[in-house]
C-alpha cells in the first residue's frame, strides 16, 4: 500500500510517500493511523489531533471508518486550502 502525506503532515513525518505491507488486522483508516502512531514520535505528532487531519482512500475524500483492505493508496492531509 502506498501512503501519502501532504502539507504539514508531510513536514512532521519527514516523507511525502512510503510503501508499506499492511498486516491483515489493519482493516480501516483508523486502524492504519494506530499502526502509524506506533512507528515513532513524528507520526504521533502528525496524528495527535485527528480533527485537523483529512483522508483520501484511492484518491477519494472519505472518513476514518473507511475499509482499506483492498486500497492501493491512502493519503493524509490537512483540510484543503486551494482556490
Amino acid at each position: 500500500m502506498t501512503i501519502l502525506y501532504f502539507a504539514w503532515l508531510r513536514q512532521k513525518i519527514g516523507v511525502g510517500e512510503e510503501t508499506m505491507i499492511v498486516p491483515d488486522e489493519v482493516k480501516t483508516v483508523a486502524d492504519l493511523i494506530q499502526l502509524l502512531r506506533r512507528r515513532g514520535p513524528h507520526y504521533r505528532e502528525a496524528f495527535a489531533d485527528l480533527a485537523r487531519v483529512r483522508v483520501a482512500v484511492d484518491q477519494e475524500h472519505t472518513d476514518f471508518d473507511t475499509p482499506i483492505t483492498t486500497a492501493a493508496e491512502v493519503a493524509f492531509f490537512p483540510p484543503v486550502t486551494g482556490g
Binding site: L4, F6, A7, W8, A56, Q59, E60, H61, A75, F77, P78, P79, V80, T81, G82, G83
Partner: protein
C-alpha cells in the same frame, strides 16, 4: 463539450483563455470568469501551493461534470497554479460559457466554491523567514454547502 482542466506552474492569460473558450463558435452568449490572486496583505512575501497529483484532476473533473449536469454550459476552463507565487500573481482561473449569463455566473461560483473546499491543494504563506500553512476557513465550507442538492 470538452472541459479544459490544467494544473500548472506557469502563469495564465485571462484574455487568451476566454478567447479559446469561444473560438469559432456563435452559440455562446455569455462567458463568466473568476481569477484568484495572491493577496499581499499582512506582510505576505510569497505563497507556495502544493497539490495531490492525480486526485486533484479527478476531483476537479468530478465537479466540472456536476456543473454540466446542473446548468446548460457550452464551455468550462479551470486552471490552478502550483509552486511559489508572489503577491499579485494569478493563482486560479475558472471560466464558464453558456448561451445566457445566469448559468455562466452560477457555474463559475459553484466551481470556485468546490475548488476551495474539495480540490486537494494546500497553501503555505511566507512572511520573510517565517513559513505558515494556511488554515481552512469555515466560511469556505459554508459557501460550498449552499450548493448541496
Amino acid at each position: 463539450m470538452t472541459p479544459h482542466i490544467r494544473i500548472q506552474c506557469e502563469a495564465f492569460d485571462l484574455n487568451d483563455e476566454v478567447e479559446a473558450l469561444g473560438h469559432g463558435r456563435s452559440d455562446i452568449g455569455a462567458v463568466a470568469s473568476f481569477v484568484g490572486q495572491v493577496r499581499g496583505d499582512d506582510g505576505l512575501t510569497a505563497l507556495t501551493i502544493e497539490h495531490y497529483p492525480g486526485m486533484t484532476e479527478r476531483e476537479i473533473a468530478r465537479h466540472v461534470d456536476d456543473a454540466t449536469r446542473r446548468w446548460p454550459l457550452l464551455g468550462i476552463t479551470v486552471i490552478h497554479r502550483i509552486g511559489r507565487l508572489l503577491p499579485g500573481a494569478p493563482i486560479v482561473l475558472v471560466a464558464t460559457a453558456a448561451a445566457h449569463r445566469g448559468p455562466a455566473f452560477a457555474a463559475c461560483e459553484f466551481l470556485m466554491d468546490y475548488l476551495k473546499t474539495r480540490a486537494p491543494f494546500w497553501k503555505q504563506e511566507e512572511r520573510g523567514d517565517q513559513h505558515t500553512w494556511v488554515e481552512a476557513r469555515a466560511s469556505d465550507g459554508e459557501a460550498a454547502r449552499r450548493w448541496k442538492p
